[in-house]
């Protein structure tokens, strides 16, 4: 076993100049700009949903989209803040109000749409396109998150992974709501709530391992 003085000597020997992390708000802004650009690119390729203008007139729909986007923004800020050692864990509560509003609009939508559910409300092909959008939005955002927050690996990987995935899920849900005709109750639940829960559950189980893997790879590459 190496002694502590030897370890200190080895660490000092390895002490190359490092570039300080930018402030968490700046980094969160950079990630959000990337997310917005990604959604814009997907929108340009896929096109907005046909009845978007009509739906935007409905307060519940608009409130739901705004709440999910705000959840994405606040959860991203919280994840970048909590990933630093000296920031309070109370920042995890930052997206809580907007999550509550978002979930309540989903619930309200379910309640109203339950009555007007039609058998042919959702076409079969739409499901596949929804899935593609989900992957194209969620995967790049998650990967960028992993790289940007790799330093959280030895500190709070689970909490950071959950908060980050909440952000990814909320922004993905926003994209799904804007791009796809999802009016049926079951589909709303699956694509909004279900995907969020799925992404967060994946983050819980795989997040710490992924953080640690990405962190080790990048540190080894740097060395």
């Amino acid at each position: 076993m190496i002694t502590t003085p030897d370890l200190i000597a080895a660490l000092v020997e390895d002490a190359t100049p490092v570039r300080r992390l930018r402030p968490p708000l700046a980094r969160a802004t950079a990630w959000l700009i990337f997310a917005v650009l990604l959604i814009a690119a997907l929108g340009a390729l896929h096109g907005l949903r046909t009845d978007l203008a009509e739906h935007l007139l409905q307060p519940v729909f608009t409130l739901g989209i705004v709440a999910s986007f705000v959840t994405g923004v606040l959860a991203a800020v919280a994840a970048f803040l909590v990933s630093l050692p000296d920031r309070s864990r109370l920042w995890l509560l930052l997206p809580a109000p907007s999550v509550a509003v978002w979930m309540s609009t989903i619930g309200y939508g379910c309640l109203t749409d339950w009555v007007s559910l039609e058998p042919d409300g959702v076409r079969v092909g739409e499901t596949l396109r929804c899935f593609v959008t989900l992957i194209l939005t969620g995967l790049p955002l998650s990967l960028v998150f992993l790289v940007m927050l790799r330093h959280a690996a030895p500190l709070r990987p689970t909490m950071v992974a959950i908060t980050g995935s909440l952000s990814v899920a909320a922004i993905t849900a926003t994209a799904l709501s804007v791009f796809h005709n999802l009016d049926a109750t079951v589909m709303i639940l699956i694509w909004n709530l279900g995907t969020s829960v799925l992404i967060i559950a994946l983050a819980c189980t795989l997040g710490p391992k992924m953080f640690s893997w990405v962190s080790k790879r990048l540190i080894l590459d740097r060395a």
Partner: protein
């Protein structure tokens, strides 16, 4: 106001440096100490009570606990006693320049400035910083881990983590909370991993032991040999002599006959009877066991 029975060991308080919300650097007549407010929150009102843990920087094993009734009273008292030191040391630097300039404002600024220089690649500053924080980390680890080797492992783990994520430190913020968060996190991770490994392990009892060879059962062999010797001593003299010469000393019949003066046939009969007697005696003993 400090109420403590062991203030004499620490000496009387000369100066308090407000390193961060949680950690104070105390200078007493007997040396410098780092003090950690416990629980980890600032005492905000006069009615709140807490205590601080004092860890001697030069001798981490010397941990003292001082009760303090009110943080504000403490601050006010020391501001009154040392008007020059307290305002400067309680000021939090707002930028890296401040952190470097206000080097005399206590250990907090020293460590922040050292870390800022270490981030820039200054090895001597980094060495000083690591050597300076080692007692603090050791004290933190000692509070949760008992085994000295495990404390050492935890401390090295913390040092490695500090090294890997040193770029996350912002010199405009206090150094001690950054370090304490890393140390606590790594120590808690170690405790959790130890608890998990303990759950997977089963303590072996002697009943679980299995042996491929008979060496571990030598104690039983030893007791059998003693019993055999006692049984042989209890034989009649002719039989005892025959057994000793033929079985224990492994002589041939001719040699035994020459030495004992008995005929070969008599030796054979005596040996046969002796073995039968021994079998009865030892068999009876085993059954009685």
């Amino acid at each position: 106001m400090i109420q403590a029975a062991n203030t004499s060991r620490i000496g009387s308080l000369n100066r308090v440096d407000w390193c961060s919300r949680r950690v104070r650097c105390l200078t007493t007549t007997r040396g410098s100490y780092s003090a950690m407010l416990y629980p980890y929150r600032p005492v905000r009102s006069a009615r709140e009570r807490g205590y601080i843990t004092i860890v001697c920087s030069s001798q981490p094993a010397h941990v003292h606990t001082l009760h303090l009734t009110c943080q504000r009273k403490l601050r006010r008292r020391h501001a009154a006693r040392h008007p020059a030191s307290t305002p400067m040391s309680s000021r939090r630097p707002s930028s890296l320049k401040d952190a470097t300039d206000v080097a005399s404002a206590g250990r907090y600024c020293d460590r922040a400035a050292l870390m800022a220089r270490a981030q820039a690649g200054e090895r001597e500053a980094y060495r000083r910083l690591l050597e300076d924080i080692t007692p603090f980390i050791r004290a933190l680890a000692s509070r949760r881990l008992r085994d000295p080797s495990e404390v050492e492992d935890a401390m090295q783990d913390v040092l490695l983590t500090v090294h890997v994520i040193r770029h996350t430190y912002d010199p405009s913020r206090p150094f001690a909370p950054w370090l304490a968060a890393i140390a606590n996190r790594r120590i808690i991770d170690r405790l959790r991993s130890r608890a998990r490994s303990n759950l997977r392990q089963t303590q072996l009892s002697p009943k679980h032991e299995t042996f491929l060879v008979a060496e571990p059962k030598l104690e039983y062999t030893g007791s059998d040999a003693a019993a055999l010797r006692t049984a042989i001593d209890g034989l009649p003299s002719g039989q005892r002599q025959a057994i000793k010469l033929l079985k224990l000393e492994e002589m041939s019949l001719k040699e035994a006959a020459a030495q004992s003066g008995m005929s070969i046939a008599a030796l054979k009969v005596a040996t046969h009877r002796a073995v039968s007697s021994l079998r009865k005696m030892l068999g009876g003993q085993r059954r009685s066991k």
